[in-house]
């Protein structure tokens, strides 16, 4: 099944390579991978959607990477997930108004309207992005770029290491509970 992991990484050269290399060589399927800066300078944040039977093992292997600071599995906790898509849609002058109406209805912004194409930007839940793409596909999609998932927990709980970048957070540990390692 799919699991959404939030990973905080010490931002050193090659750290993304290490993470991606791990997914590849252990045979974990990445459905989505997004990396960028976090609120702490020097700490990057990754959202990885991984298809794995044994997510505990994925978390533990990720945690072996020296630059990995925390790994949290947020699959079963309240979380907001967003994805941004840019789409360049071909459209005739006659159909442009209809296309723009589709965009407006589904919450996409037309950010570049030309004589034969429209570029839309949509930030929404991934399923809504899928829906919008399906809706405009009949017009002809010239280009499509999706950002991958961004995930953040709801409420006050935060996946953060704080400015001190304190040592080794291993939130999905579960070591004391033998049931959690039977997967």
């Amino acid at each position: 099944m799919s699991h959404t992991l939030i990973v905080l990484l010490h931002d050193r050269p090659g750290v993304l390579h290490r993470a991606v290399s791990l997914f590849r060589r252990r045979g974990y399927n990445i459905e989505s991978l997004t990396v960028g800066h976090s609120e702490v300078p020097g700490v990057s944040r990754m959202t990885a959607v991984v298809d794995a039977k044994d997510v505990e093992q994925v978390i533990r292997q990720l945690s072996r990477i020296v630059e990995v600071l925390t790994v949290s599995d947020v699959t079963n906790v309240p979380v907001v997930v967003r994805e941004t898509a840019l789409l360049k849609v071909s459209v005739t002058a006659d159909a442009q108004a209809a296309l723009l109406a589709v965009g407006a209805e589904l919450g996409a912004r037309a950010i570049d309207v030309g004589p034969s194409t429209v570029v839309f930007e949509l930030t929404a839940e991934p399923w809504a992005v899928d829906e919008f793409i399906a809706a405009v596909r009949p017009y002809g999609i010239r280009e499509l770029m999706r950002s991958g998932h961004l995930a953040m927990r709801c409420g006050a709980t935060a996946d953060t290491v704080g400015a001190a970048a304190a040592p080794y957070y291993f939130q999905a540990d579960g070591m004391s509970d033998p049931d959690s390692v039977e997967g």
Binding site: L9, H10, P13, G14, H17, R18, S21, L22, R25, D54, E56, Q57, R60, Q61, S63, R64, I65, V66, E67, V68, L69, V161, A165, A166, P167, Y168, F170, D173, M175, S176, P178, V181, E182, G183
Partner: protein, 584 residues
């Protein structure tokens, strides 16, 4: 040596950093991108010995052998490009066997990185999957911190290899080193220092106390953490029999009444059957490798598994675990022993049952001498070597990979930790000769026996020149020469209708080859000559190679065919064992 406040080159800083880490010897080969480091070495030669090897693979295995014999971090060196890629095999080997290793490589000038410069290779990229961590150092100021981190990472937690790639300009640049560095490793923790989970310990104790058919499986972790005394106390206090993996050999004395032997693909029948019948399996410091488990879904089907490992990612990776104990084996065992002051031993019928199986399937029966053959059998060599080891003491045995390695594991009696050094997880042929060179330097007062096949020997025998140049006298090589890549040949015989594709192997005159390197060569092809040759080798004040010309088609038995349960063993070429009948 420069005074503290004097600026010095990066290369000098590297030497001083190594000395500060307690390094006394390193194994390597120079080349363009690492020349500044070599230029600095002579100034430090009184404290930092450099051993020039003949191939970087040899340098890497020598560093591994040094580390495995001594428990210290091994250091190997290569230049950029091919020097670095030649280190990849020993680095992978150290990764699989959790051997503490720091590999230092030169890199092209930082301005040339990314231009496909002469001898440029992305060795940090190449070694990402086979190192605990690696570094590309472009700035001289980073060297003290990077070396401190590299040795910390290699030697703590679950040990392993760390690669430090240093650009030529970082070696040449000058700086006043700042030794008072703090390790900048916020994502790393030494899992040996984890707080012991007392609830889990109590749960483990409860399982051990209730068990009727318990077993202890001891691995490399016992040796790495120095927990052999605690293991013995645990076994003796509880009466639980102990089996030892390939890398656990020596963790528990094999002549102990509770010692059963090695499990797995070439384990003894009674050991594998005991695993299949046990109700609690306490794994201390081994990782349930597939060569131990066989078909994993059929492994230890009745057992509640207690798994003690320093690496949390090993828990539950291959085998379902009832109780997880993460941490240093010695530390956790001490806590466990406090919780287990006394324990009623398991029903004596359990050990009796295992010993009865051992009687029926007498372990070494596959190696009984056929009265009709005058041919020297491999087990004749092991019997004589085993007797000599017992009589003389003060030895290490380094084995390579293949049939001879399994015979050594099966037929020699392992008594003390770190006396058995081999390539396990990676199965690297060519390991033994250079690893023995490293072990010989680590243990100059002991005799280092190399047991090696004619295939593996020919992969790295150039290191005999290193042995000669370094004046190493305490290496004695027992070449088990059968003229085949024997383990592959055995599989071809048993499973592929004797189609010997790519396995017959001719060699040079091994005794003359040895003599060319200043190594005494002795050829043996009769049983009677074996003990004398071993004694002669032991007493000769220099390195010796004995070319034991053994039966060409001898096999390792028992064998669990690939993909089968460890309950299904071939005990000879024509007889498969019945699956075990179980009692409840």
């Amino acid at each position: 040596m420069s005074t503290t406040l004097e600026a010095r080159t990066g290369a000098q800083i590297m030497c001083e950093a190594l000395i500060r880490q307690g390094v006394e010897v390193m194994f390597g080969i120079p080349g363009g991108a690492i020349m500044p480091f070599y230029h600095a070495m002579p100034e430090y030669a009184d404290r930092l010995r450099h051993v020039l090897c003949r191939h970087e693979q040899g340098a890497g295995h020598a560093a591994e052998g040094y580390a495995r014999a001594s428990g210290r971090v091994g250091v190997c060196i290569g230049t950029s490009g091919p020097g670095a890629t030649n280190l990849v095999t020993p680095i992978a080997d150290a990764w699989m066997d959790s051997t503490p290793l720091v590999a230092i490589t030169g890199q092209v000038h930082s301005a040339l990185i990314g231009t496909d410069a002469f001898q440029e290779t992305d060795i940090t990229g190449i070694t990402v999957p086979i190192t605990k961590h690696n570094y590309l150092v472009r700035h001289v100021a980073d060297l003290p911190r990077v070396f401190a981190e590299a040795f910390h990472l290699a030697s703590t937690g679950r040990p392993g290899p760390v690669l430090v790639d240093v650009t030529k300009d970082a070696q040449q640049a000058t700086a006043v080193p700042e030794w008072d560095v703090t390790l900048d490793l916020p994502g790393y923790r030494d899992d040996r220092e984890r707080a012991v989970d007392h609830d889990a310990v109590r749960e483990a104790v409860r399982l051990l106390q209730r068990a009727r058919r318990p077993l202890i499986l001891a691995g490399n972790g016992v040796i790495q953490s120095g927990a052999h005394a605690e293991l013995r106390t645990l076994a003796e206090r509880t009466g639980i029999p102990v089996i030892t993996t390939l890398h656990g050999l020596g963790a528990f004395p094999q002549d102990h009444p509770l010692s059963l032997g090695m499990p797995g693909m070439h384990g003894w029948v009674h050991v594998n059957r005991a695993i299949q019948e046990c109700d609690v399996l306490f794994n201390i410091g081994s990782r349930f490798d597939d060569r131990v488990t066989g078909k994993v879904s059929a492994f230890a089907p009745r057992a509640a598994v207690i798994h003690l490992d320093v690496d949390p990612s090993e828990i539950g990776k291959n085998v379902r675990t009832a109780v997880a104990l993460v941490g240093d084996a010695r530390r956790v065992l001490r806590v466990l022993l406090d919780e287990l002051p006394a324990c009623a031993p398991p029903p004596s019928a359990w050990l009796a049952r295992i010993r009865a199986m051992q009687e029926v399937h007498e372990p070494r029966q596959a190696y009984r001498r056929r009265p009709d053959t005058p041919v020297l059998m491999p087990h004749d060599v092991y019997a004589a070597l085993n007797a000599a080891l017992a009589a003389r003491g003060s030895y290490r045995v380094v084995t390579d990979v293949g049939q001879h390695q399994m015979w050594a594991a099966q037929l020699l009696d392992w008594r003390r930790p770190r006396t058995h050094i081999t390539s396990g997880g990676s199965g690297t042929m060519g390991f033994a000769v250079p690893a023995a060179l490293g072990a010989a330097i680590a243990c100059p007062d002991e005799t280092i026996w190399v047991v090696v096949g004619d295939g593996g020997f020919q992969m790295t025998n150039q290191e005999l020149a290193t042995i000669q140049q370094e004046g190493i006298t305490n290496v004695k090589i027992a070449l088990i020469n059968n003229g085949y890549l024997g383990m592959v040949r055995q599989w071809q015989e048993l499973f592929e209708g004797r189609r010997y594709s790519g396995t017959p192997l001719s060699g040079p005159s091994f005794t003359r080859l040895a003599e060319a390197y200043g190594v005494r060569g002795i050829a043996v092809d009769t049983v009677d000559a074996v003990p004398g040759a071993i004694a002669e080798a032991w007493d000769h004040p220099g390195p010796v190679l004995i070319d034991f010309r053994v039966e060409r088609e001898a096999n390792v038995f028992p064998i669990v065919p690939q993909g089968k349960s460890i309950g299904e063993m071939l005990v000879s070429a024509d007889r498969a064992e019945e699956p075990p009948c179980l009692t409840h």
